[in-house]
């Protein structure tokens, strides 16, 4: 007992038995218990993770202890929270439990201005927060520098404008923004999401905080940017002794960086302890479902269709697409050629903006292109007339990333499904109804779902409906553009399972687009890597490892995937300079990030576009210096 108390005395943030609820219907009878009796502790200089699905109460917990839920009824109503020994909680909620009845009633002690001031002081000084959408948190009318100055002034840093500026630039450089002096004069919309996140962190550091709370800081970022951010967190902890409370739904992130972890579910902590310990010897089945969401996938060996005698189904030849953005224009697709064989899954990976979706929309003829051919069974889809196109649209279908955006909210599921068949009057009502119940059954939905509106389906169910919508025309080829990226982990696994099942049963061919490299490896036979509109490497799934990869960009991508304290990955990441991707002109587009080029300054890389050439092991690579 004594030991425990002593330990708590040292902890920086100490939350005990915290409850946060929201009134359901205004009657004061029904409550939604968003956070239910949570105890949590963060020690100085420690990185602590909270993991849980969306809606499990992670953000509510943080908002609660920061006093941001004060308007809520009843909000924070039970428990204690200490920051560095100072109690936070009297400042957080106006409600408390009645002594006798256990009913939640309004406290009669109102807030005092002194307390408010105290809370205001703590918030933003001792304890700082960064959120998921960094750019939303920066005022678009103020330059980066003005944000920094404001933050410095608020933390009562001494000195005039010039001194503050020097300090600010130092801080920006500290968080890895080497080019801080140039950034100083830019507006938030002119910088990338990753940079904005770092600006947020630099602003937070102005006050020399003791605790940094990061709520899903990397969810909106690419893996490569995420890896850099996590590295930064690690450095801040080591250098400044900053404690970090990291909230995430991504088990990889938590695994990579946190020392201790709390697993949250439905507002409760179901398991906690040393990260390694918890994730390896989990006790609660929910933790198991997080750790093992994709475990059973690995046991099914991906049947190799990589043998080249399989018939080619889709061939893309020199596809080009130019976009105008403001007064600049650039190639979103630059001479992309690839081939899909019947029954295989070809995965396309790359950072956001690399042109994956553009490729999908172009080959679906949902967008015009500036050149190239898309041959489906030898026939150029881009040149098909209206009638032929309608037939082709039955055979080539597409899944989109956001199922809720795809389903017209005013139509029933049945209407959505039958639409693709009704249009030509080729099928009778009976046949259509039969097919509807057939596809609903295939995607494991109840036939009664046909009468429901998308609005009252869960996200997973919605994505099943979009799959059913594609399957109803009995397609041969399915183009999946990030089909599971907006879903929770457990549902991702179910949908992936479903996709695999169809491939086996219906012999579908997939073009599977994703930025999630782990996911891709579960399903794909071959993998193509895109960078800035170009295909830079193509490899059979087996060769898609940090050792097997030929192109430096592929190596970077693979090494950036969070994994538990993998030293080799971290050292590979460290080889790459910490710069933003920019669209270069001519030569190899990757050269500003390429360690080989930066070392050798190979003139070929500057002048000549590296052609995609065959290498040993059945892959292809577009790099002047990569070996065969």
């Amino acid at each position: 007992m004594k030991v425990v108390e002593e330990k708590n005395m040292h902890s920086l943030l100490d939350i005990r038995d915290l409850c946060i609820s929201f009134e359901r219907d205004g009657s004061g009878e029904k409550y939604l218990h968003a956070v239910n009796r949570i105890s949590l502790r963060v020690d100085p200089g420690e990185i602590v993770g909270i993991i849980g699905q969306s809606g499990s109460g992670k953000t509510t917990l943080i908002m609660g202890i920061l006093g941001l839920l004060r308007g809520a009824v009843p909000g924070v109503w039970r428990g204690e929270a200490f920051l560095d020994g100072k109690s936070l909680l009297p400042l957080c909620g106006e409600y408390a439990e009645e002594k006798s009845g256990g009913k939640i009633v309004k406290r009669n002690t109102p807030f005092q201005s002194a307390q408010e001031k105290l809370l205001g002081d703590l918030r933003g000084r001792d304890i700082v927060t960064i959120f998921q959408e960094p750019r939303a948190a920066l005022d678009p009318y103020f330059r980066v520098g003005e944000h920094m100055l404001e933050a410095l002034r608020r933390s009562r840093a001494p000195g005039g404008e010039t001194e503050l500026r020097t300090q600010g630039i130092e801080l920006l450089q500290d968080v890895g923004l080497v080019d801080a002096a140039r950034l100083w004069d830019l507006h938030p919309h002119q910088i990338s999401g990753g940079m904005a996140q770092r600006v947020m962190i630099a602003m937070a550091l102005c006050a020399r905080p003791k605790l940094l709370v990061a709520d899903e800081p990397s969810t909106a970022l690419d893996v490569t940017t995420q890896a850099k951010l996590l590295e930064l967190f690690r450095r801040l902890r080591d250098k400044h002794g900053l404690a970090i409370l990291l909230i995430s739904h991504d088990i990889g992130v938590i695994q990579e960086i946190s020392q201790r972890v709390y697993v949250m579910r439905h507002g409760e902590v179901v398991e906690s302890g040393e990260t390694r310990e918890v994730l390896e010897n989990f006790q609660h089945p929910y933790t198991g479902s997080l750790v093992k969401a994709f475990a059973h996938f690995e046991h099914i060996p991906a049947t190799s269709i990589a043998n080249s005698d399989a018939v080619s189904l889709l061939e893309i030849k020199s596809l080009r697409k130019r976009f105008q953005q403001g007064d600049k224009s650039f190639w979103a697709l630059d001479d992309v050629s690839l081939e899909l064989r019947e029954g295989e899954t070809y995965a396309l990976v790359g950072e956001s903006g690399s042109g994956k979706s553009t490729l999908a929309l172009s080959l679906m003829v949902l967008q015009t292109v500036n050149g190239g051919e898309v041959l489906y069974k030898g026939e150029d889809v881009l040149k098909a007339d209206k009638k032929r196109m309608r037939a082709l649209r039955r055979e080539i279908r597409m899944l989109f990333q956001h199922p809720e955006a795809v389903l017209n909210p005013g139509m029933t599921v049945g209407a959505i499904l039958s639409e693709g068949l009704e249009k030509d009057g080729e099928f009778t009502r009976n046949e259509i109804d039969q097919r509807i119940s057939e596809v609903l059954d295939q995607v494991h939905l109840d036939p009664s779902h046909a009468l429901r509106f998308p609005g009252n389906l869960s996200t997973g169910e919605k994505q099943r409906v979009t799959i059913a919508r594609a399957l109803i025309t009995r397609p041969k080829l399915l183009v999946c553009d990030e089909p599971v990226s907006s879903l929770d982990l457990a549902i991702q696994a179910q949908i992936m399972e479903l996709l695999r099942e169809f491939q086996g049963r219906l012999g579908l061919t997939y073009l599977f687009i994703s930025h999630n490299l782990q996911l891709v490896k579960l399903l794909a036979h071959r993998i193509g890597v895109m960078y800035m509109g170009r295909l830079v490497e193509e490899a059979p799934a087996g060769g898609f490892t940090t050792e097997g990869a030929r192109h430096p960009y592929t190596r970077l991508l693979l090494a950036s995937v969070p994994s538990m304290g993998d030293e080799t990955s971290r050292s590979i990441c460290a080889e790459f300079p910490d710069v933003e991707p920019v669209r270069l002109e001519g030569g190899c587009l990757f050269r500003n990030r390429c360690p080989w080029y930066l070392k050798s300054r190979n003139p070929e890389c500057e002048n000549k576009t590296p052609p995609l050439r065959n290498v040993l092991g059945g892959g292809k690579v577009a790099c002047h210096l990569a070996g065969d």
Binding site: R397, L407, R469
Partner: protein, 347 residues
């Protein structure tokens, strides 16, 4: 039976929607069924009973002051001889009887009694106008003549505005350019002036006038629809519909119009109806709209201009109430629908 109404009441804009809907429903009912249950025809002139007040005494008492009642009686005494001189004298026992009774100056209390009992059986529940036309028949005929021109205005405004908006929003490019020029031209012409010019140049026909009114509302409708369609076109389900092989026509009619913009359509329908009733009555009052012998609420009021201050309030009062109810009805309906839509889209 009741519960769906109660549910609507609970929703944002529910009261307005229900009240407006009720008024519009009544108006439509009267328009459609009116000819079956009215006792008189609107062009039937009861020469024996011109300017008789509403039948029920309390209605008269309720709406006129003591002075007014006196004036009413006097006017009646004045009007009666003039009518009897102009109409055939040997008919109308009732009226003669009444006049006879009035020859003996009665007490104040008995006057009203005598007056109303005398007129009890003429059958004009809401009284008659100066030509002896039945007010109820006139009001019913007026309802028709505000509904039909309103529908003409809606047909023009929505029939052209909606497709124009859909095309301009969906295809951008040339259609958008065309819509911009077309709408700009229409918007640059003041509505009333345009209507008056058309009336002067063409024959003054209320349907033509309403068509012109509808035309002046095209810009509003088409811009509204085009803006919405432009936003919707970028959304996933339009892309998905194209992916599913749907032709442009089906995407426009089904997804963009029926599933996404039909509420806007009904809202605009209600608002344009309200506006066109207002315009129609105004024009008729100014004698540019419906011309007698055709009846409209506006020209009933116009016809009562001279009698209003001499105490024959009812000829002005009832059409005015009808106009207000009709306009309020459509306006509330549109406004309630709008609030409901805003709420649904806000979620």
């Amino acid at each position: 039976m009741i519960s769906p109404f109660l549910r609507i009441l609970g929703k944002p804009g529910g009261y307005r929607m229900l009240l407006g809907g009720l008024l519009v429903f009544l108006l439509a009912l009267v328009t459609i069924t009116g000819t079956y249950w009215t006792r008189f025809k609107p062009d039937e002139m009861d020469f024996e009973h011109p300017l008789v007040p509403p039948k029920s005494a309390w209605l008269t008492r309720l709406t006129t002051t003591a002075d007014g009642r006196k004036a009413l009686m006097e006017s009646h005494q004045n009007a009666a001889p003039s009518t009897s001189s102009s109409s055939v004298t040997e008919e109308g026992d009732d009226l003669l009887g009444a006049l006879k009774e009035e020859e003996h100056p009665p007490t104040e209390a008995s006057t009203a009694k005598v007056e109303f009992s005398a007129l009890r059986d003429h059958g004009h529940v809401l009284g008659t106008d100066k030509n002896g036309r039945d007010m109820i028949a006139l009001l019913v005929a007026g309802a028709r003549s505000c509904f039909l021109p309103g529908l003409v205005a809606c047909a023009v405004a929505l029939g052209i505005g909606v497709p124009l908006g859909l095309f301009a929003g969906f295809y951008e490019g040339r259609w958008r350019m065309f819509a911009r020029i077309f709408n700009g031209t229409l918007l640059s012409m003041p509505r009333m002036v345009l209507i008056l010019v058309v009336i002067c140049v063409l024959e003054p026909n209320v349907y033509i006038t309403m068509a012109v009114l509808g035309a002046t509302l095209i810009p509003r409708v088409s811009e509204l629809i085009a803006t919405r369609v432009r936003i919707l076109s970028g959304m996933g389900f339009i892309l998905a519909a194209k992916e599913g092989g749907l032709g442009d026509f089906r995407i426009l009619t089904r997804h963009l119009f029926w599933y996404q913009n039909r509420a806007v359509f009904f809202i605009q329908f209600s608002l344009i109806m309200a506006e066109s009733i207002l315009t129609e009555t105004t024009l008729s009052y100014l004698q540019f709209g419906t011309k007698p012998p055709d009846v409209s609420w506006g020209n009933i009021i116009e016809g009562s201009r001279l009698t209003f201050f001499s105490g024959q309030y009812w000829i002005t009062f009832f059409p005015a109430v009808a106009i207000i109810m009709a306009i309020l009805g459509f306006f509330y309906l549109g406004d309630g629908l709008n609030a409901r839509l805003a709420y649904r889209e806000g979620r």
